[in-house]
């Protein structure tokens, strides 16, 4: 396949940035999207150009490091898929593909397609945990957990912290990410003691980071590679209200 790429290039936070066009030839349909960029980057290096910087690590959809807006959609059009899991067989020969970084004020661009997502870590710091120092835990079977609850908690816990939900949201809201963690922990008996204080602290931190509010557009869940459902946000809001009523 032969493709035309329009890629966002920005040398650093203070650079204004621009789209640059590249041609890539002989792309195999079995390549992953990132492998296609590797091939382009190898060529750029040999030509003495600065290769395109992008984040990635596991390349199997679990670390949450990769993320690009491809043809206007966070992680590309294929549903429930991270950028690194996207394969070229889903693109047409001769296509033009635009590639841009996540765009949201709390995720400033570091370089090219690399952004700073440390705000997510700070949201977790605010309360996304169960306070249980190592060595203090009771036997794992001392508290049975209903299978349904464990499964639902697991579903919410699969969030990989990629930030696509924020990039897709017209308000730049981090509600889906935050709600996923709150839901995970609030469905388990172990998460109950800190349930309300956790919801309050995490939501307040999310606001302090400058993420926008949720207006239920559903864009987040549409791009979420792990299919975190919108009702997590309702759950978060309910806990948040309860916490504030106290």
């Amino acid at each position: 396949m032969n493709l035309t790429l329009k890629v966002w290039r920005q040398s650093g936070p203070s650079d204004k940035g621009r789209m640059v066009t590249y041609k890539v030839e002989d792309v195999s349909p079995d390549m992953s999207f990132l492998e296609m960029l590797d091939v382009l980057n190898e060529r750029l290096i040999l030509e003495g150009d600065d290769p395109i910087a992008f984040d990635h690590d596991c390349r199997e959809g679990i670390c949450g490091m990769c993320g690009m807006v491809i043809n206007g959609v966070a992680h590309g059009e294929q549903r429930a898929t991270t950028t690194c899991q996207l394969h070229m067989r889903h693109f047409e020969d001769g296509a033009t593909i635009t590639i841009e970084p996540w765009r949201a004020a709390p995720f400033p661009v570091v370089k090219d397609l690399v952004v700073d997502r440390s705000a997510f870590d700070r949201i977790i710091q605010a309360g996304g945990f169960v306070s249980v120092p190592a060595g203090s835990a009771p036997d794992a079977h001392s508290i049975p957990v209903r299978k349904e609850d464990a499964d639902a908690a697991f579903d919410a816990a699969t969030c990989i912290g990629c930030g696509a939900c924020v990039a897709a949201c017209p308000n730049g809201s981090a509600s889906l990410f935050t709600a996923a963690k709150i839901t995970h922990l609030s469905l388990l008996p172990q998460g109950q003691p800190e349930r309300l204080s956790r919801a309050k602290a995490m939501v307040d931190q999310m606001d302090a980071e400058g993420f926008g509010g949720c207006t239920n557009t559903g864009e987040c869940t549409a791009v979420c590679p792990k299919g975190i459902p919108l009702d997590a946000i309702a759950r978060m809001n309910a806990d948040y209200l309860k916490a504030n009523a106290k």
Partner: protein, 640 residues
């Protein structure tokens, strides 16, 4: 490559006495640090995977002043996140005859009698606490309808002791550790440095006293000082270029510590995982593992006839060879990894492999789907099947998966004593980065167990014994400056070559060479060839590599080049270690040493030792640590 032999290592510092009491004894003899003093003691933890994340969190909880580093943009992204299948623990919740002793026994045997008994016993003991800890943190393990934890069986074991969270056990355990870590960041006991790459250890007055790191965003070279340094930087499987490891996994941290005096143990012990998606083309950037748990229900086979090009569904049962079930009736598809991998290689070498280039075997779920129903299979393995389809474009519910072995894990690593301390005082090494518990072959679901055992339970006790003598005072400025200069010089040198080949092109070539000559099967001839080729290729690298950009910016080409440079040096030591160890054991298969059935043949008389390599300016120095087995009788492993 020239090497010399130095004195044996006689004392790995494990307490004596009955094996069940040794860890208890050590915990009691370890000096305690007064709570008020802990705040004054600084500890650096490099790496935020299961080992480093759990260690930094726990040290923070204990009140030490901790600095934590990782190269990703968040500690939650460490490679541990990708572990799929599960974590072992001797809970015996099933009442199927499991016990601490049995897990100990299985691990020593699975490691082909090349691990220390004392360490392995402790690991089995601590395993039960890990599950308790994880559950209390909210790790959503799979459960049964009664609300209790579910388990599955894994290769090399006949009991069901593997706890799991669908196919994402590593992710869930790491998020537990990550959340504990972030709690300590909020509490002010841990300072987190993401996007920082460690490039050297500072050794002052014979003690590890800090690290030199590069801020990967600004390029700034920074010094960080402490009373002790913990390396939890993971394995070095990426020396093969293609492996199941994350792209950034590297040997830089442990290799540079090795150059500073930390012995490197058993570098040649690598694990080739039997169930990975085969290579599809030249551009391939990594390999994807299909969890070993699939072997619980999937059946491995190849056509009986050579070069059989029929579609798998058209091959009747009596023309299929379910070779693992045939050769190993007792364990069948659940034989340990090294055995399953080599068996796959053998049938492919016979010309019975399937798929492009004949480098693949089938992993078939037809019978499981008939027996359990498609729904049940989907519940258990749905996400793995999806992953497979995404990559290959084939649907495993209809056509059997094609799998082939790939590099997965490195049992070798920095040598540590029972306290997990390296040969540099004050430098501790945990998780996959050390060599300690798996001998020559790791059992499935035991890496997560070891990483968390080290981080939550072992290191926090043993490091206290060391730190009780601290704080250790001023760090020698000359030592810091020298380390800093060494780092800068290496970076400058990489940037100044300005040749005509990319770092990746060298890495690919090195990886191919390692796979061909020091991979699943090794011979004296192949290893000698590798030892000839590696220095030539390294020479070319330093003459002809091209690194674009500058040192003062985010520069991913420079990062890769630095890692490849270290892989060259490590590759050479791996081949030397493999050459010197003329026996076969576990994942190390020397073709010259096999029995009549083609199984690995150990040579206990000459090789029942750990090979610990000291770095020397005139070539490596080999120190042997003899291994003694008081509890598990050394036998030739048999899974028949």
């Amino acid at each position: 490559m020239k090497y010399t032999e130095g004195p044996e290592i006689r004392d790995a510092k494990a307490p004596s006495g009955p094996i069940e009491e040794r860890w208890e004894k050590r915990k009691f003899s370890a000096k305690l640090v007064n709570p008020a003093n802990k705040r004054k003691l600084n500890v650096i933890v490099v790496g935020t995977g299961l080992a480093g994340g759990s260690a930094a969190a726990t040290l923070g909880e204990l009140g030490y002043n901790v600095k934590s580093f990782c190269y990703q943009d968040s500690p939650r992204r460490a490679h541990s996140i990708a572990a799929q299948g599960g974590i072992n623990a001797a809970k015996n919740y099933r009442g199927d005859g499991d016990s601490i002793y049995r897990l100990f026994y299985d691990t020593v045997k699975g490691g082909d009698f090349r691990a220390r008994e004392s360490n392995v016993y402790r690991l089995a003991q601590v395993s039960v606490n890990i599950i308790d800890q994880a559950v209390a943190q909210g790790v959503p393990f799979a459960r049964e309808y009664g609300g209790l934890l579910d388990t599955r069986s894994f290769g090399g074991a006949q009991v069901s002791r593997t706890f799991y969270a669908r196919g994402q056990t590593g992710q869930q355990l790491l998020l537990g550790a990550y959340q504990a870590l972030e709690r300590q960041v909020a509490a002010g006991t841990v300072t987190m440095h993401t996007r920082h790459e460690m490039l050297d250890v500072i050794v002052s007055d014979g003690r590890a006293r800090g690290v030199i790191v590069r801020d990967m965003v600004t390029g700034e070279i920074e010094r960080h000082l402490a009373d002790a340094v913990v390396l939890a930087t993971g394995g070095y499987g990426n020396v093969f270029f293609l492996s199941t490891n994350a792209k950034g996994c590297n040997t830089t941290a442990i290799w540079r510590a090795h150059e500073r005096g930390a012995y490197f143990a058993n570098p040649c012990y690598t694990q080739i995982h039997p169930t990975c998606i085969p290579v599809s083309g030249e551009y391939q950037s990594k390999l994807t593992l299909m969890s070993e748990s699939l072997r619980n229900d999937g059946r491995v086979w190849v056509p009986l006839r050579k070069n059989d090009t029929r579609a798998p569904g058209d091959i009747p049962d009596d023309e299929r060879d379910y070779y693992l079930e045939r050769i190993y009736p007792a364990f069948g598809n659940l034989v340990p990894r090294d055995i399953a991998s080599r068996a796959a290689k053998n049938v492919c070498d016979e010309g019975r492999g399937v798929g492009p280039g004949g480098l693949g075997v089938y992993l078939d779920f037809r019978d499981a789907i008939n027996r359990l129903g498609r729904d049940a299979v989907e519940k258990k393995y749905g996400n793995l099947f999806e992953m497979y389809e995404r990559i290959t474009g084939e649907n495993p519910y209809d056509v059997p998966m094609r799998i082939y072995p790939a590099v997965h894990y490195t049992m070798g690593g920095l040598w540590v004593d029972y306290d997990l301390q390296s040969t540099i005082p004050g430098l501790f090494v945990i998780g996959e980065a050390n060599f300690s518990d798996h001998g020559a072959n790791r059992l499935g679901a035991s890496a997560l167990m070891q990483g968390l055992a080290d981080g939550y339970f072992v290191l926090p006790t043993t490091i206290g014994d060391y730190l009780a003598a601290g704080p250790f005072g001023e760090v020698d400025e000359a030592a810091i400056a020298e380390a800093e200069l060494k780092v800068r010089n290496k970076i400058d040198r990489l940037l100044s070559v300005n040749g005509t080949r990319t770092p990746d092109s060298f890495h690919r070539e090195l990886g191919k060479l390692m796979w061909d000559y020091c991979g699943m099967e090794r011979t004296e001839e192949s290893l000698r060839k590798a030892l000839e080729r590696i220095p030539e290729l390294r020479e070319e690298f330093w003459q002809n590599v091209k690194v674009t950009g500058t040192a003062e910016e985010l520069n991913q080409v420079l990062e890769r080049a630095g890692r490849v440079a270290d892989f060259f040096d490590l590759a050479e030591l791996m081949c030397l270690d493999a050459l010197v160890r003329t026996e076969s054991c576990g994942g190390h298969f020397r073709a010259e040493s096999q029995d009549a059935d083609g199984e690995a043949l150990r040579d206990d008389e000459n090789f029942a030792h750990v090979s610990a390599w000291e770095w020397g300016a005139d070539g490596p120095i080999l120190h042997k640590e003899p291994l003694e087995y008081e509890y598990v009788k050394m036998t030739q492993r048999s899974y028949k």
